[in-house]
Amino acid sequence: MKVLSSSLRIRTYGPTVFFPIRGLIEEVVRESRVKEGIAWLSVKGATPALVVATEEVANELGKCLKYLIPVSGWRHGNAYAHLRSTVLSTSKVIPIINNELAIPKEYEIYLLETRSVYNHIREVVIQIHGE
């Protein structure tokens, strides 16, 4: 069994923009040549999130977040971004079968930029464990 660490740097803008990164992660999985294993994904920082969903669901989630965790009405300056990140999570774990991510084809892996930023660099750490 081996452990491979790599990372992706994604340029983002926001707020509430979903960046599809499944293709980039699949490339890392293919290059790892791991047939059976686990892909541990994590985005650095206290305000982004990783979401595994269809495009339709991601669009719905974007709308729903405005009601679930509104932008204003909190004590901390950008609490909405932190709380969205904490509740949705900055990490996802996906099994690898036959050197492919074991999620349906119509599902995308999104990096969610919660903050009102432009040209922001986010780092996604990918750990592949397996053989």
Binding site: M1, K2, V3, S5, S7, W40, S42, K44, G45, A46, I69, W74, R75, H76, A79, H82, L83, S85, T86, V87, S89, T90, S91, V93, E123, V125, Q127, H129
Partner: protein, 126 residues
């Protein structure tokens, strides 16, 4: 390099209703056991306790408390909503969290005393 799993139990002293920044406790385990590359799963088996990742800042933690209470969940439901485990990557013998994100243990049990956190590491060790 051989991949192994190590599990460590930590005791956290708690008033029964508080948030404790346990990032350095977990980092100490990572450094102490010499995990070079891999992942660390931090979990609490204690009842009505949570482990999450958030900036450890009093106003933000108060906002999180308010959010949980709005969801009707400053108790057992928070375990489902916020969760009892998190996964963090370890790169070059250190946690790769970014600048502000911390591992935070939250006790909602209203019962004073020692609580438990289990840290499981998988990867390549020194």
């Amino acid at each position: 390099m051989k991949v192994t799993v190590r599990v460590v139990r930590l005791r956290i002293g708690s008033s029964g209703y508080e948030a404790v920044d346990i990032t350095e406790n977990v980092r100490e385990v990572v450094k102490g056991l010499g995990l070079i590359n891999g992942v660390v799963v931090t979990h609490t088996p204690s009842k009505y306790c949570l482990v999450t990742m958030i900036e450890y800042e009093p106003e933000l933690l108060a906002d999180l408390e308010e959010f949980m209470s709005k969801c009707g969940s400053v108790s057992g439901l928070a375990e489902a909503l916020v969760g009892k485990s998190v996964v963090a990557p370890v790169v070059n013998n250190d946690l790769a969290l970014g600048t502000f994100k911390r591992l935070v243990f939250i006790d909602l049990s209203r019962s004073k005393g020692e609580k438990e956190v289990v840290v499981a590491l998988e990867g390549t060790f020194k």
